[in-house]
């Protein structure tokens, strides 16, 4: 029976003891502990949020960076293509111009060669004529010394003339 008979003394001390414990802990321990835990939880949550934000920012930065890279690449490619085109055009133009020029030069050369040739031919003709006249003169002077020969010659000339 002793087991289930509450004793007055224990109830008395228990009431006092528990009350004292409650007031000490409620004043000096629980608020500090629970607030400490809550503050730390909040700090961790804040830091996680911040980290997520930074991560997001990093991601957007990366994305922008990548975009910029792509853009730059495209720009470079465009520039290169344009440069190639321009250079090719220039090359073509130069080629055309050069060929035209060379053609013109060739033409000039041909002309000048023709002129020179003609001139040379004319000179040669003139010289040959002169030489012929000289030779003819000499021949004539030589031949005319002999009557017979003169006659024959005239005859021949006459024949030639005739055939011409």
């Amino acid at each position: 029976m002793e087991l289930i008979k509450p004793s007055f003394g224990l109830i008395f001390w228990m009431l006092i003891g528990f009350a004292v414990l409650f007031f000490i802990l409620a004043k000096f321990a629980w608020p500090i502990i629970t607030n400490g835990i809550a503050a730390r939880n909040k700090k961790i949550a804040d830091q996680l949020e911040e980290a997520a934000k930074i991560h997001e920012e990093m991601e957007s930065l990366n994305k922008r960076h990548e975009e910029m890279m792509v853009q730059a690449k495209a720009e470079r490619d465009a520039l290169l293509a344009e440069a190639r085109k321009v250079s090719e055009e220039m090359y073509e133009k130069a080629k055309l111009k050069a060929s035209a020029e060379s053609q013109a030069m060739i033409e000039d050369a041909k002309k000048s060669i023709y002129f020179e040739k003609m001139k040379a031919i004319t000179d040669a003709k003139n010289s040959i004529a002169n030489f012929s006249i000289d030779i003819a003169q000499k021949l004539i002077t030589e031949e005319l010394t002999d009557r017979e020969k003169q006659e024959k010659l005239v005859e021949k000339w006459m024949d030639d003339l005739h055939f011409n």
Binding site: E2, I4, L21, T34, I37
Partner: protein
């Protein structure tokens, strides 16, 4: 020394210790003529007493004397319990009760009103029980020890929070914090919602008081070993505090639910107020059940544990060899029960706190709380 080998050495040490004790008890059992009675032995270990028995038996026993404080006819009387000589002597007319007054202090009447000396066996002493007895008994002493322990633990933890805010928990803080967070998240907040902050100090104090005393109750040696939470006065006081907190924080809804329970057919209320009667009884049964549950669980655990220990002596009295043979089995079950009690120590503290939180939450009744997590153990 590696952990494994340390473990083995520890096991060997305890085995030797147990064997030594067994041998000593064996020799003691053969010497003693007094018959071992398990019933009183167990009850003696479970109930309160005026001295803190450490070891030994009879005259050779080592007991810490504790002060006895009485108010007899308005006069305070203070003396040490050692004056009683284990209940065999009277001091200034005061003596340990016997018979139906066993466990209380009695005042001898008549010729023996101021008697100091040994009490004779078989003599009839007129006596009456001293009602106003606030002696520092074994349980009160254990209560003070646990109060000092809890205060020291939580003040040091609080100090750590104050001096090292937002730091990784360490030491005691790391031990205590998960339990506090668990209680807050699983018990207090689900039951009380936005009123959590108001009632959290009481519920946390309640939990750690019960838990620590349960644990100290399992420790068989001083300063543990007092069956504080297995004492009906202690659990009763805790239950009464919960009852008062519940009643004083109750809202209109709570009383409306009691006297006009919704969802119940009208004929249970109108001619005969059956349902309100049941509900009113319920107000008182709730704390009563709280009191009995904690008391019974802890005391039953101790009784079973002690019964296993007693088995050794019971068998040892038949034949020392049987006692020796039984002791490993007994010790195995003793250890098993000890582990069970560790579990029960937590569960009972948890259940007491959870139910208190739920009763308070229901009494406030401002919003629908989660009541699914009811654990009836």
């Amino acid at each position: 020394m590696s952990y494994k080998s340390f473990e083995r050495r520890l096991a060997a040490f305890f085995c030797t210790l147990i064997l030594l004790f067994a041998c000593q008890n064996l020799s003691a059992a053969t010497e003693e003529t007094e018959k071992f009675d398990a019933g009183p032995f167990i009850i003696e270990h479970v109930i309160d007493s005026y001295g803190w028995h450490i070891c030994g038996d009879g005259d050779k026993s080592v007991t810490i004397p504790l002060p006895i404080i009485l108010f007899d006819d308005g006069h305070p009387v203070v003396f040490m319990s050692s004056k009683f000589h284990h209940g065999e002597a009277a001091y200034n007319g005061y003596a340990m009760g016997w018979g139906e007054n066993k466990g209380s202090i009695v005042k001898l009447d008549g010729n023996y009103a101021d008697y100091t000396g040994l009490l004779e066996e078989g003599e009839m002493y007129e006596n009456h029980v001293c009602k106003w007895d606030i002696s520092i008994t074994k349980n009160v002493c254990a209560l003070f020890i646990s109060l000092i322990l809890i205060t020291c633990i939580f003040l040091s933890v609080a100090k750590r929070y104050k001096e090292h805010p937002n730091e990784v928990p360490s030491g005691l803080q790391a031990l205590v914090e998960p339990i506090i967070v668990f209680l807050q998240d699983e018990v207090i907040t689900p039951s009380l919602g936005k009123n959590s902050n108001k009632y959290a100090p009481y519920l946390l104090t309640l939990f750690f008081f019960i838990f620590l005393n349960n644990m100290l109750g399992i420790v068989p040696i001083f300063p543990g070993g007092a069956n504080l939470t297995g004492n009906i006065a202690v659990t009763g006081v805790l239950a009464i505090i919960t009852f008062f907190v519940t009643t004083f924080s109750s809202g209109k809804e709570y009383w409306k639910d009691i006297f006009n329970t919704p969802g119940v057919p009208w004929w249970l209320k109108i001619p005969l107020p059956l349902m309100p009667l049941v509900e009113v009884i319920g107000i008182f049964t709730k704390p009563f059940v709280l009191m009995v549950r904690l008391f019974a669980n802890i005391t039953a655990g101790h009784i079973i544990t002690l019964a296993f220990v007693s088995l050794i002596f019971i068998f040892g009295q038949m034949n020392p060899a049987i006692g020796l043979a039984v002791s490993p089995v007994s010790i195995f079950f003793y250890i098993f029960m000890g582990l069970m009690e560790l579990l029960v120590a937590f569960i009972q503290a948890f259940v007491f706190t959870l139910l208190s939180a739920m009763y308070i939450g229901m009494a406030i009744g401002e919003e629908e709380h989660e009541h699914e997590a009811v654990v009836e153990a």
